[in-house]
């Protein structure tokens, strides 16, 4: 994969930031000269053999370098893996995502896997920091709080009508000391698809894999029989098949329960997830949120004690599955979009739908490149039945609060009709609700959920769409169209920020109408000539719109030429993507520079005696300075991560 200048620079900077400049040197050499055998690599990188051996081994461990041993000459070739290098920046997002979905311990496991590159399960078992649920330090803190809340969770659980263990709170202290449920956590991660089995093909570049698969396909006896057009077709298909088989390390099969990954169902049914709606929390007490985490962890351990204590195969080697994580991050992005212009409850229903779809979506799209505008057909995700969403959605979620009353006679709506800004009134009714868990309630919930999703189906975003079948309504999401929408929104945001709202209007007109000459453009956009020309000129300078000349005669005189303005989203997208890479690498360089300015000070804070006891060894001024530096670095890294969101929109979704 060839990369543009800035993308390559960015990857090298990221590697340097995380692993030091030896890795960065090897990586840039490989990027510059593409694939190289060891002696050549040594020559170009000007490193010693030992440095190269050690560096390459460690980089292969982290998947930063592909290697391929040719059968013909026996040489091993090395090549850079820019994708893995780029995803280093996304590690924060990935860990955060896992934390918010599967809890703190799962995030820790994920981080360890990221830290180790790829790792066999038997090694994970031996690691001391994965052995216990709570990290050592905050242990005391948690213990202190525990007794006060002991009564609350029990009430909560029994009310929810779930068969969670009754003695929830009592166990809490032991749980912290108890061996952590590593295997069930790994199973949860695997069934979500966040981690996959490592295969040999993961260490070879995609091109090598393709060539090998192609060779294997053409050697098959049934292919050799074919001729002409059928041969090429069949060959292509078989190659794809072999390729998929070789690279697919999916572990989720066999770990799903009723189409749901492990570790999810309980969490939602318990109502203690972070998704519990506001009024639910206020109904009980304020400290509830604090408890939620501990409760989740209980679930985990219980999982292991109960029906599910078959450990995973210890020799299984795991790595992180970036493709699937992209799907999850994309869905998070859509949920944010829904949150922007719909009620929180609607967004939550939507999130549930997307979650369901995510479990069966392996990657964001099938093609490796984003297809050109207009050449991309819509592909819908698999349709999800409403009843599944009903069963998934948090049972405490107030669905009717933000909708108009559907039927004034219905009792349940009257009860929950208002959003209780002040609690108390509502609290009593809530308990009654739980008791009568009738079929009727389910039906009305299904109706409400359909209403919410219909709301999202409307313009401008068309976040979902429905299919009406004989057995009810199913919901699906047209991801390709939505991804395109995201790209356009991002471009429009940029244009509005840089050139103002007039420019945005012009851009939208051009996008809707295609190529237009100035006069026509002015008529449609209802702008004075002067403004229009200024905007167009500045936008052209920025590369957002372009001008096409259509001469009327062979002389190409300007007076006899038609000038057409147009906006080409593909081109703009790719140039914006490059700009984004550039901005990211500049920001990273800025961090490096700022760090260099404070090098002496930062060296001091990194001294082995100071580190960890900053309060003890640093003066007040120094502590403040350290805090200031950390804040600044956080802002800069935050900017990089925002830019990464843009890259995701333009490249990955």
């Amino acid at each position: 994969m060839t990369m543009s200048q800035y993308a390559a620079e960015l990857c090298a900077l990221l590697i340097e930031d995380q692993f030091g400049d030896l890795f960065a040197r090897i990586f840039t050499t490989l990027q510059r000269y593409e694939r190289l055998p060891l002696p050549r690599l040594k020559f170009y990188s000007r490193l010693t053999e030992r440095q190269l051996h050690h560096g390459l081994a460690a980089m292969i461990q982290h998947h930063l370098v592909f290697h391929f041993t040719s059968l013909e000459d026996g040489n091993t070739y090395y090549a850079a893996n820019p994708q893995a290098a780029y995803y280093l920046i996304r590690s924060g997002k990935i860990i955060h995502l896992v934390e918010s979905r599967l809890g703190e311990y799962a995030a820790r496991v994920m981080e360890t896997i990221l830290y180790l590159g790829h790792v066999p399960i038997k090694h994970l078992e031996t690691l001391p920091d994965l052995r216990y649920l709570a990290p050592a330090a905050p242990n005391g803190l948690v213990k202190e709080e525990e007794p006060e809340e002991e009564q609350e969770p029990q009430e909560l659980d029994t009310e929810a009508g779930e068969e969670t263990n009754g003695a929830n709170g009592d166990h809490a202290e032991e749980v912290l000391q108890k061996p952590a449920p590593l295997h069930s956590t790994l199973k949860a991660l695997a069934s979500h698809g966040y981690i996959i089995r490592v295969k040999d093909a993961h260490f070879q570049s995609p091109e090598d894999n393709y060539i090998e698969a192609h060779k294997a396909a053409s050697n098959r006896s049934d292919i050799k029989m074919l001729k002409g057009k059928r041969l090429t077709e069949e060959l292509l298909q078989k190659t794809e098949e072999i390729l998929r088989e070789r690279t697919d390390g999916d572990l989720s099969e066999g770990l799903m329960v009723n189409g749901l990954p492990r570790g999810v169902k309980r969490k939602i049914a318990n109502g203690t997830s972070e998704s519990a709606s506001k009024w639910h929390q206020t109904d009980h007490n304020g400290t509830n949120g604090n408890h939620a985490d501990d409760d989740e962890e209980n679930d985990w351990s219980e999982d292991e004690d109960g029906f599910d204590n078959i450990p995973m195969e210890p020799s299984l080697v795991l790595r992180v599955n970036y493709e699937k994580l992209d799907v999850a991050l994309r869905n998070a992005r859509f949920v944010e979009m829904a949150k922007d212009d719909a009620a929180p409850a609607t967004a939550e229903v939507y999130e549930t739908l997307l979650r369901r779809i995510e479990y069966v979506t392996k990657r964001c799209r099938d093609t490796s490149e984003i297809p050109r505008e207009g050449e991309e057909g819509e592909q819908f995700s698999i349709p999800i039945e409403t009843y599944k969403i009903v069963s998934d959605v948090d049972p405490h979620l107030d669905l009717s609060g933000c909708m108009g009353p559907l039927n004034p006679a219905s009792a349940s709506v009257n009860r929950r009709g208002k959003r209780p800004l002040e609690n108390g009134v509502n609290g009593d009714n809530h308990y009654e609700d739980e008791d009568e868990d009738t079929v009727d309630d389910d039906v009305s919930r299904a109706y409400e959920i359909n209403q919410h999703l219909q709301l999202l189906e409307q313009a401008p975003h068309n976040l979902a769409s429905h299919v009406r079948l004989s057995d009810g309504i199913k919901w699906r999401v047209g991801f390709r169209g939505l991804a395109r929408k995201l790209r356009h929104l991002e471009l429009e945001r940029l244009v509005e920020m840089r050139y103002g709202d007039v420019a945005l209007r012009v851009l939208r007109v051009l996008h809707a109408k295609g190529k237009l000459d100035e006069k026509r453009l002015q008529e449609i956009s209802l702008l004075p000539f002067k403004d229009l020309r200024q905007t167009l000129a500045s936008m052209q300078a920025g590369g957002f719109v372009d001008l096409q000349e259509v001469p009327k005669d062979a002389q190409r005189q300007p007076s006899k030429t038609i000038f057409l303005w147009y906006f080409d989203p593909d081109r703009v997208c790719s140039s914006v993507l490059e700009d984004t890479y550039k901005a990211m690498s500049r920001t990273l360089q800025r961090i490096k520079f700022e760090r260099n300015l404070r090098r002496d000070f930062l060296d001091k804070t990194e001294r082995s005696d100071v580190k960890g006891n900053e309060e003890r060894w640093l003066s007040e001024g120094e502590l403040e300075q350290l805090q200031r530096w950390r804040d600044m670095e956080a802002i800069l890294l935050g900017v990089v991560s925002r830019l990464d969101d843009m890259v995701a929109v333009f490249r990955d979704f």
Partner: protein
């Protein structure tokens, strides 16, 4: 600019440059505005989610930095071999070893691969790296043949490095036993350990390499101690060191 313009006003040309207008005042040395006013955009404050993402990122990065793989190219110190690049870049103001330097963070120049309590899945690595990831790996006959093929480009270098590697692995094995015993030692032990390692690596750094890169150039360092160098004779015999021969 033009004097004609100045005549219309009541000021002499160049009057704006005199200091008489404001006796005793400080001349305004601020740069004249060359560019239109530019609004510097401010980054939004980080949201809670972003803050947590950044923290996770930094935490992972910290682990990488503390981990065995983080390695830099030049840790210049005065203990570096004379004439090596590391010695040339030595910073005499901050680089002198001092007592407090004991606690200074040590940077490796070479990722530590073996003996870090991590097992490698050997099948995922190319064969030529096997000696690196497995310290007690004995290359057998078939692999020797394999090496001979890859080392065609620089016969001399490849040969030497094999020896190097073996030496190294032997050393490591003995050191490995020590390490295993003293794994749970205090920080102090580890510090020293790291120190030794760093030194060893620096010693091995890039002197030979330079020589290799420069091919047959005259090498001042080698002028005097060229004779008692272990690879002096047969090393230069086969072509590479032809230039050196001339200087004698």
């Amino acid at each position: 600019m033009s004097r004609f313009g100045a005549k219309k006003g009541n000021r002499a040309p160049g009057a704006e440059f005199t200091w008489d207008a404001d006796p005793g005042g400080v001349p305004d040395t601020a740069p004249t505005p060359l560019y239109p006013a530019y609004v510097v955009p401010w980054a939004r404050k980080l949201s809670e989610k972003e803050q947590s993402e950044v923290n996770h990122y930094r935490h992972l990065r910290e682990r990488f930095h503390e981990g065995p793989y983080y390695s830099v190219l030049d840790t210049s110190s005065s203990s570096a071999k004379k004439g090596s690049a590391a010695r040339a870049n030595f910073d005499p103001f901050h680089g002198m070893p001092s007592y407090s330097g004991r606690y200074q963070k040590k940077r490796r120049t070479l990722p530590k691969i073996a003996n870090i309590g991590r097992e490698y899945e050997t099948r995922y690595f190319p064969r030529e790296l096997w000696p690196t990831i497995m310290p007690n790996f004995r290359p057998n006959a078939s692999i020797d043949g394999f090496h001979a093929q890859t080392a065609l480009a620089g016969m001399k270098r490849g040969f030497e490095d094999d020896e190097d590697e073996e030496d190294d692995t032997a050393k490591r094995r003995t050191a490995g036993a020590d390490e295993d015993e003293g794994e749970g030692d205090a920080d102090e032990g580890e510090l020293l350990e790291g120190d030794e390692e760093a030194e060893e690596e620096i010693v091995d750094d890039d002197f030979e390499d330079d020589e290799d890169d420069m091919g047959g150039d005259y090498n001042a360092e080698q002028y005097f101690d060229g004779g008692d160098d272990e690879f002096g004779d047969d090393g230069f015999g086969d072509g590479g060191g032809g230039g050196d021969e001339d200087t004698y």
